[in-house]
Amino acid sequence: MLRLFLAVLAALLLATGGLRAEPVGQILDTNRALIQKSSRLTIGPVIDALATSGDDRAEAVLQAWGDKHLGIRKSDGAFVLITRKGGDYVLTAPDGKAAGTAKRSDIDALRPNAGVRRLIDGALVQFQLNAPKRATRAAALDIIDRHPEAGQLKPLEASIPGEFDPGLRSRKERMLRLLTIRFGDDGAARIKAIESFGADTGLDLRGALNPLLDTKRVVTRAGETPPGNVARQLIPGKGIGDAAAYDLLVKAGDAPARLTPVARKQALEANIEGGKVGGVPVPDLSDPEARDRAYSALEQAGKVPQAATAAEVAAAVAAHAYWDVYAEPSKEVTDAARAALSKIALKVDGMEAFDLLLEALSLASIYFLAAIGLALTFGVMGVINMAHGEFIMMGAYTGYVVQQWIPNYTVSLLVALPLAFAVTFAAGVAMERLVVRHLYKRPLETLLATFGVSIALQQIAKNIFGTQARPLTSPAWLDGAWVLNDVVSISYIRIAIFVLGLVFLLLFLFVMNRTRLGLELRAVTQNPAMAASMGINPDRINMLAFGLGSGIAGIAGIALGLFAKVTSELGQDYIVQSFMTVVVGGVGNIFGTLAGAALIGTLQKGIEWLNPSNTLAAQTYMILFIILFIQVRPRGIIALKGRAAGD
């Protein structure tokens, strides 16, 4: 404790540049008027004077002022620190001596406004940096983080030797370097600080570096160079537009404003005399050249202000040079900052690419989940199920309904998953029995009939649940995101969907390759007649396969519902992409579906990255790409070859 105290003392002495200590009471008295009518705009010097007074009472006084515990005794106008006790105030003089008590009505308590309080907080930071409580010190660092100022540099530096908390110490050291970059007065030290970070990708570093590269646009006569640290010259037509260059001249007061068509029209309208303007008959004024003639005539007559013509504009633009000049005067510092930023940009690009990859992966797993059921029905059985999207929707609504009954989100999710599977499995089996079974040899009609089912199911969902979106809330442990750094992060829900996709892939492979059902399914797919003669009931297998595909759609529905809102159009939004996934991947192979989902997911994210403002266009381009892709590989990425593919 003693060591800490000594360190604080030393720091204070250091911070105030030595010995000159002016009592705070005196400072308060000299600035009485400013303090009584304090305003954010004028109070700065007073606070600074207090903070740098060197008086060890400065912190207490500032703290009291900020907490509205500073007052003026009405009787003698003395500043006092006040503490409430019952109905009265206990008074302390600024120098720390007790000053008795007083009635509340005898004291005029100062009430600094929020702006002033913020300034006081800022000034207090240097004291808090050495506060005995860790939380106070951390809070002080937070304030520096948010509002970095030149004045914080010295106290921060001074507080480091006395900081024994390793976490805070390294934070302080980092902040010191950041503050040095921004406010240091020694160029070499600043450059050293910049270089010490390497390719650190922290937002705080970029926040410190970017202001160094702020530029101002200035104009000089052609051939001249502006004073200061020049960033670059701008050539009109390249780097700066002619119009922008001229606007700069106008702003600098070097040229008259240009005549806009609207101003010209107004000027002409104001000067109609006897059906003529400047000697030009009014009906002729539909021609822009006639308008120019009329305006020139008015100009000569002195009726309208001079305005620059196109030729004058061009000449003026050509006669000047345009520059970007750094606000930071030191060229070495700006160079170092630029180099550091470009290094950081490279690294950030790399991380963004990684982040993009993560997003693509998560989108791919969504498509995979949506498509895996289709891969079974369309890919393996050759049956196209347009109602697949509605099965997804059904699963999502099942999840929603379960949540209405079971308020615990984790439990409801655990109940909803098997229930959604059961519901859509039943729906799938019913549809297979009632509709699809009769159409196995007629794929196009299956498409239409299942589409009829899809229309009906969608409308029924609308009738039951309404058209507004229903929430399917994820449990708390799925909220939030896994944050790697400022650039790379991925929400837990996306990870969960990815894991779910993986689980289904393994499950699918297991069922197809390791179970009796899978064996029979493959047999029926390849040769139904032969399979039937081996004692396999193709009807039963088809029914089960269809149910399985639909059941998976139901579970995918829950996943998608957690991710997006549940509406009756949920499935429809994914159906085309799902089919694309299956078709692009190659029919009849689960790895094809996986490849298709990966391709489509990556592609869509990639296009969105190239054109982030427009996700609709991204989808358009993606579909166009797929249409072209089918040209190159009509049977998909992973294609069956030869006679087995069937013509």
């Binding site: 069956l640 070859k641 030869g642």
Partner: protein, 246 residues
Amino acid sequence: MSSLLEVSGVSVSFDGFRAINNLSFSIGPAELRAVIGPNGAGKTTFMDIVTGKTRPDAGRVLFGEKSISLLKRSEAEIARIGVGRKFQRPTVFEDQSVADNLMMALKSARGPFRVLFWRPGPADHEKVEALAAEVGLADQLARKSGELSHGQKQWLEIGMLLAQEPRLLLVDEPAAGMTLAEREHTTALLVQLAKTRAVVVVEHDMEFVRRLNCKVTVLHEGSVLAEGSLDHVTADPQVIEVYLGR
């Protein structure tokens, strides 16, 4: 004698299975040839390659005096060049009348615009009637071909093939499902046809092949095992081993 069709060194494999392995085959402009071989010998794949349905991995397929390569051409182009194919099972357009089927097969312009403005003239009707008479369907012209019996469909398809006037005819098991009398009629017709064009018959039925009385090519595992007269190949011990003997 120059050959009409020359297949040399053709190989094709499906997923690693070599269906055709370095197959060479040639036939003259007016020759009848029977191709025999056990199941899976590559007979159908061979025909697929010649007609453009399957693209071989290696080899050449040349046709006609100008030695046009058939490899890069579509099925339709190959058909227009003069290769006709009769399928094992009769494939006629059952929803359309016998006359329509024959009219469609009749040699004439094949492009969409030409077809759109094409209207049959009296000569075309005569040709169709003549063809129908040749295959014994003269009184069935107005019927939908779906109503015909299996044998009649075979004949209709042969009629359509004749209407195409091909220079090379590939015939896949023509005698299947025919009565004895019809077989004789078919044999006579094929022999007759081979006088003016090349005819390749793929057949299982040895009796039928014997009746054709022509050179025989035996396929086995995608390549030619033996070639010569029927008596010659049936005497070949290898042929006996893989095909006839067991």
